[in-house]
Assembly symmetry: C2
Homo-oligomer: 356 residues x 2
């Protein structure tokens, strides 16, 4: 008897449908080949087309719908016809916050087939980025007043709560603890931001006491960019706010080789809600329909999903197959290769075939 | 008859006094050698020692005092004895905002003697970073409530005004216009921040109409880090918010070679107030008193000051002398050299001597 997982597949906009359909092929092939688990993907049509038809990005009962699944696999959101702040708050941010997927986890490492642009990273890069995913700069408060006057004022209110900070820092310490080097860097900007950022520092110092086997340091977000460039080997796990880690995770993926392969897990560590897995890249409208979207970020996200669901062995095998294909130079044009999306899918499926 | 400039010298904390005194030697030598202008530095003791004695970082009449000078040369602020948010808001941020030094200008380029860590930057780096320096995330509003409760909330309120955005974007377009490539990138995060960031986008589009000879594009701050790493040659001038450019300017300096040489000008483009020039690096307490602090960031800041004061020719000559010394490998240990601070000063003074 094998476990059967129900996955909500939300391809979304742009190249989202291309990379999600590529990933479903690969994961279904993996399940069939290994025979150790079963997996069913249910298509959910939320995205800009849905919005154009229904006037909203998500169905009214979206959260209830999602809770019927064990996890979600998400493609991308963003369409030239709709301002980004409408589409993102309508879809992605309307899930991350309300479902309390408060831990966004982004592993970054040098990967076969990608080139590292740093000549300081001779030992390679292997970082684990943990992003607070439910509050802070993404709390959504703020507004505009005196519109059109010279003294028009617009605010963006970042709200940090003790609960919100405590749980993400604890999660990050646990993450660091599970890694060989057991080191955590807590990123803030507590020299210029005197409230929420100082609270982060205080809570980090207090949570650290529960993890005597984890070494940790803290760093300002601006200085952290310098460290990533000049001392990549000094970094293991990083935790920071929603905005800081948004920036640092793009930088990290770029420094390691490519944002096209970077995965992202939106986790509810309490497991009360299904977690959502998505590539870091966006909807990439410039290459839509050309069949050349890089599916590796979504493959890797699906592997993270399998780990989260408890299928560690299947996940590791999938990663090995993906890495073999990349190492063999079967790459999409963004990585300097000449393969199509389907070409990469087929190559990964052949690798999976060998697992039999 | 030559113009005589009165400069407020504010060495501040840590290695501030070492790099400022080094710079005064060099600039005085330059003035004496060229004979085309005169310059007097007046020492102002603000900083953590002053704070320990007087309970405040600045004297009560600090703004009035500063207004007596043509410009200020600042070292660093920050001391292990005082929380950073106290020292920075007490000193540096208490000048930048209140004096309305709203344009922070940070040139970044590959410099003789430093190594570029990027193997994508084969053509070298030559960027001009313009940072909004008076509002946004550094408005200083926000607070903490329900202290100690699990639901404790701490806010950081970013306030953007139409006046504040308009003037910095206009300044940035003018800056781009004065450069050979005439290209500006406006950085925001208007997909997740729906108020101030959207206002930035609107104002950028409207100001751009006044600069038909400047090409421009806009970019999200996270994506901008990727572009800096992978397409450095596509970048010319960048403008963004106080926090975004704080982060991007550290990253830029690191990518170009070293944060130890990076200069920063806090300008009041209306010239109602004296502008303040400072190296980007901080107080670096770990090397205080060792005589090895890198003075190049402060030299370069002083050269920017001379340009701002109208001494373009003297400024260019000073830069040439500094570059010659760096190219000759006379470098402090942070750049892989073995020279002392005074060694670099002496070498630059010998170069200046040759200008006679
Ligand atoms: C699409 C956008 C809202 C998003 C973010 O800022 O969180 C993206 O950049 C990411 O990193 O997932
Ligand atoms: C010292 C600190 C307040 C400052 C800032 O954040 O502005 C520094 O990082 C800078 O870039 O000048």
């Amino acid at each position: 008897m094998s476990t059967s997982y129900q996955i909500a597949s939300i391809p979304g906009d742009g190249i989202g449908p291309e990379v999600v359909s590529a990933t479903i092929q690969v994961v279904e092939k993996l399940a069939k080949t290994l025979g150790t688990f079963q997996i069913n993907f249910t298509h959910i049509p939320w995205g800009t087309n849905y919005y154009k038809e229904h006037g909203r990005y998500l169905s009214e009962d979206a959260l209830t719908t999602l809770r019927k699944y064990d996890a979600g696999l998400f493609g991308a959101v963003g369409d030239p016809d709709v301002p980004d702040h409408i589409s993102l708050w309508g879809l992605l941010l309307a899930i991350r916050g309300p479902l309390q997927l408060y831990a966004n986890v982004r592993p970054v490492r040098t990967f076969p087939g990608t080139k590292c642009p740093l000549n300081t990273a001779t030992g390679g890069i292997d970082w684990m980025l943990v992003r607070e995913n439910s509050e802070g700069e993404y709390s959504g408060q703020g507004g505009r007043s005196h519109v059109g006057q010279p003294w028009e004022a617009a605010t963006e209110v970042a709200i940090f709560t003790r609960v919100g900070i405590e749980r993400i820092i604890r999660f990050a310490f646990e993450t660091a603890q599970s890694r060989p080097r057991k080191h955590l860097t807590v990123v803030t900007k507590s020299n210029s931001m005197r409230n929420g950022m100082v609270l982060w520092d205080e809570i980090a110092a207090s949570v650290a006491k529960d993890f005597p086997d984890v070494t940790w340091d803290k760093m300002l977000v601006d200085a952290m960019t310098v460290r990533m460039v000049w001392k990549p080997e000094s970094i293991d796990t990083i935790v920071g706010t929603n905005l800081h880690m948004d920036i640092l995770s793009d930088l990290a993926a770029a420094l390691a080789g490519s944002i096209g392969i970077a995965p992202s897990s939106n986790l509810d560590p309490t497991r009360k809600n299904p977690s959502l897995f998505e590539p870091v890249h966006g909807s990439a409208f410039d290459i839509i329909g050309k069949g050349i979207a890089n599916p590796v970020g979504t493959f890797w996200s699906a592997a993270e999903m399998l780990t989260w669901l408890g299928e560690k062995d299947a996940s590791a095998k999938l990663m090995q197959c993906i890495e073999n294909v990349c190492a063999a130079g079967i790459l999409t044009p963004d990585l300097g290769g000449s393969s199509s999306t389907q070409g990469v899918v087929d190559a990964v499926c052949s690798e999976i075939e060998k697992l039999k």
